[in-house]
């Protein structure tokens, strides 16, 4: 097997080639557009900043999940890839969120303050 053929075999994974992939992913495309439209609609409602932030982030996570699973084909990849990537990323982001609050304690030069 040539290097080129090996690269092709290794990198092209489960997703099938239909020749009509645009039609296949149109529902995902329109859902992403609808999520974006709904976000803008909600931004003009009289919601508190915190409520709006929670709703918008939840919708952004849904949109991102659709993009990762279908546009990036993670749904069709090996489950081990999903299990090794997504929980680790979420864990790192949560830990980062926990550590950021320390920066506010350091602002007051009280690193061990409660």
């Amino acid at each position: 097997m040539t290097d080129k053929a090996a690269t092709d075999k290794a990198s092209i994974t489960a997703p099938s080639t239909s020749g009509n992939v645009i039609a296949k992913y149109l529902p995902v495309y329109f859902t992403l557009l609808a999520i974006a439209g709904l976000e803008i609609f909600l931004a003009y409602r009289n919601l508190s900043t915190l409520t709006l932030l929670v709703i918008l982030l939840a919708m952004a996570i849904c949109g991102a999940a659709l993009a990762v699973m279908y546009f990036m084909h993670l749904a069709e990849e090996r489950p081990s890839l999903f299990l090794s990537l997504i929980p680790a990323t979420i864990f790192v982001l949560f830990m980062m969120n926990a550590i950021w609050t320390d920066s506010f304690r350091l602002l007051h030069m009280k690193p061990f303050a409660h």
Partner: protein, 180 residues
């Protein structure tokens, strides 16, 4: 590519969290974005970027089928949409700069507004510009036969990631700073 995407996702996550904490700690965070021109521009930019993901899917599919002409058309559609997005983004920046927004100064409130806005949207814009350049390189290599459909697919993953990041930038940076 997946490892790069994950590391980049964490980088953007850190930037957005830092922005969130700075904003929460500020008592005079500006909310300057009007429907016209900013939010309308953001709507068009979002439409352009999501559509470019769809054309990228077409390019990957055509490349896998070995249809070079179709893959080229889809790749150039993606390149055009990416360049259009970058152009709209730069127009948005110039509008804000004309209104007096600088990285550490603005006419409305907390001086950190400009720093966070330009750094986060700038990092995303840099990704889009790098993506457009990468797509041109991949198109050239693929049509000449030096690169494979696998390379097109890998670049596609990067391009979809750029789209994904924008889904978080729009609500956090723009929609939470709308002028009511």
């Amino acid at each position: 590519m997946w490892l790069f995407i994950i590391s980049d996702a964490v980088t953007f996550g850190a930037c957005l969290m830092a922005y969130g904490y700075l904003r929460a700690a500020s008592t005079d965070w500006p909310t300057p974005f009007k429907f016209y021109p900013t939010i309308l521009n953001v709507i068009i930019m979002t439409f352009v970027l999501i559509t470019s993901s769809l054309t990228m899917l077409g390019a990957v599919d055509a490349a896998k089928l070995g249809d070079k002409a179709k893959a080229s058309r889809f790749l150039w559609s993606t390149i055009f949409l990416g360049a259009l997005f970058a152009g709209l983004h730069i127009r948005e920046w110039l509008g804000l700069i004309n209104e007096g927004v600088r990285p550490f100064h603005n006419p409305w409130g907390s001086p950190l507004f400009g720093a966070t806005f330009f750094s986060i949207t700038g990092l995303h814009l840099l990704h889009v510009i790098c993506g457009v350049i990468a797509l041109i390189v991949i198109w050239r290599g693929y049509t000449r036969g030096t690169l494979t459909a696998g390379h097109v697919e890998t670049t596609g993953l990067y391009w979809h990631f750029v789209d994904l990041v924008w889904m978080f930038v729009v609500p956090t940076i723009y929609l939470l700073s709308i002028q009511h």
